[in-house]
């Protein structure tokens, strides 16, 4: 029944070529311990769905440096010059999606919705090749739902069942990523007894969480520092 895994154990749930949904906005709410675990593994040809690809050699940027990735789907990769270079060199496929569309597409993936009509990006390059429909006189484009093989998320506190709460804006994409992966692995700062988290404050109910890994990182002086 226990969902708690060691860092060395979770990688076995990921296969070469998997599509990973990864929470985080910049470095905040990013599952750094899980990323380190993948970097140290033999996994390859991964597709990442995440808002960013971290920074060079930081966060998801580590997986790029370690040649683990073939494709990235997200809204903002410009802060990682490695990603830009890999794309220029033809080594990384990139699919750019507006940030709100990304969040909604993943939510739909987890919610049994096949696609949705959004007004974001209508008439732009990012709408090219997408179906357009006028609904009640307004123009919308169709965006398909996004699902993944494995979701890697970062929460602040979990109970042993896997109920999760987040630290401030570290919440960001994590709750939606938690709904749309076939297997969901949550890195957490702290694990508390069942019943400590109030029913009204739980953001991600435990039905969404398959495994929990304790984080190796602590926040110190404005950065994330490895604690072990």
């Amino acid at each position: 029944m226990g969902k708690l895994l060691k860092q060395s154990e979770f990688v076995k749930f990921i296969k070469d070529g998997d599509k990973l949904l990864v929470g985080g906005f910049g470095m905040s709410g990013t599952p750094l311990t899980l990323i380190d675990g993948i970097a140290a593994s033999s996994l390859k040809n991964l597709t990442i769905v995440s808002n960013n690809l971290g920074e060079p050699g930081k966060g998801l940027g580590i997986l790029l440096q370690e040649n683990k990735l073939i494709k990235a789907i997200g809204s903002y990769f410009t802060t990682n010059r490695d990603a830009v270079q890999a794309w220029v060199d033809g080594e990384l496929e990139i699919e750019l999606i507006p940030q709100g569309t990304l969040a909604e597409a993943v939510r739909c993936g987890g919610a049994g919705i096949g696609g949705f009509y959004t007004k974001t990006a209508v008439g732009t390059k990012l709408a090219e090749g997408k179906e357009e429909k006028v609904i009640d006189g307004e123009r919308f484009i169709l965006e398909k739902a996004i699902k993944g093989d494995v979701s890697l998320i970062k929460a602040h506190i979990a109970d042993h069942l896997g109920n999760l709460v987040y630290d401030h804006t570290g919440r960001n994409f994590n709750p939606v990523m938690a709904t749309a992966g076939t297997i969901v692995i949550a890195e957490v700062d702290e694990i508390v007894e069942n019943g400590v988290l109030l029913p009204s404050e739980i953001v991600t109910p435990h039905v969404y969480v398959d495994y929990i890994v304790k984080s190796n990182y602590v926040k110190k002086a404005g950065v994330f520092v490895e604690s072990v």
């Binding site: 906005f25 910049g26 470095m27 905040s28 709410g29 808002n51 809204s75 903002y76 990769f77 410009t78 802060t79 990603a83 830009v84 794309w87 220029v88 990139i94 750019l96 999606i97 507006p98 940030q99 709100g100 569309t101 990304l102 969040a103 909604e104 993943v106 939510r107 959004t118 007004k119 974001t120 990006a121 209508v122 008439g123 732009t124 390059k125 990012l126 123009r139 602040h156 987040y166 630290d167 401030h168 804006t169 570290g170 919440r171 960001n172 994409f173 994590n174 709750p175 939606v176 953001v203 926040k219 002086a221 404005g222 950065v223 994330f224």
Partner: protein, 216 residues
Amino acid sequence: MNQFERIKIAKRIVQELKQGQFVNLGVGIPTLIPDYLGEKKLVLQSENGLLGMGPTPPAAEVNMDLISASKAPITMEIGASLFDSSNSFAMIRGGHIDVAVLGVLQVDQTGELANWAVPGQTILGVGGAMDLVAGAKEIIVATLHSSKNGDPKLVKELTFPSSGIRKADLVVTEHAVFKFEEGTMKLVEILSDISVEELKEITGAEFEYNSEGTDF
């Protein structure tokens, strides 16, 4: 440096904002606005999941999981609330944010704007730009009048990729304030010691103006 002009633009935009409005501030000049609000209180939304963003904390109180959309450490005002990215963009795209103040690469004379990609360069970031353009109730553009190499940023037609079909309502530069009404750009106010003729010379876009040059 142009910091003086940038502050001037931010201060002028403050005049447009009303007490208690829900405002999202883009990167660049818009981020200067909180420093010049005076007694005016806004409710700032940060698209990574916070309504009620407060100022930068002292170094000792920085939490890397309490950051702005620009990834800078922030605080929370009294009455702030936290939510996930899907709910944050539901708030933006659903028309619940009163004003988005956005920087641009270009804005055309109808108010259509370009603020995410430079043609011929790698286009690998859009972030929340298009969602804000599509969703905010009012869009105020904050921009220097000309680009670094002297090209007008207010243009007849966009040569940079558009951020969406939704038009801006107002643009403020160091030289002037223009509004957009039914596809037309109108001079509202001159902000520097420039004549209308001189303004026309440095502005790619065509704009209407009245006999005094201002105050439509």
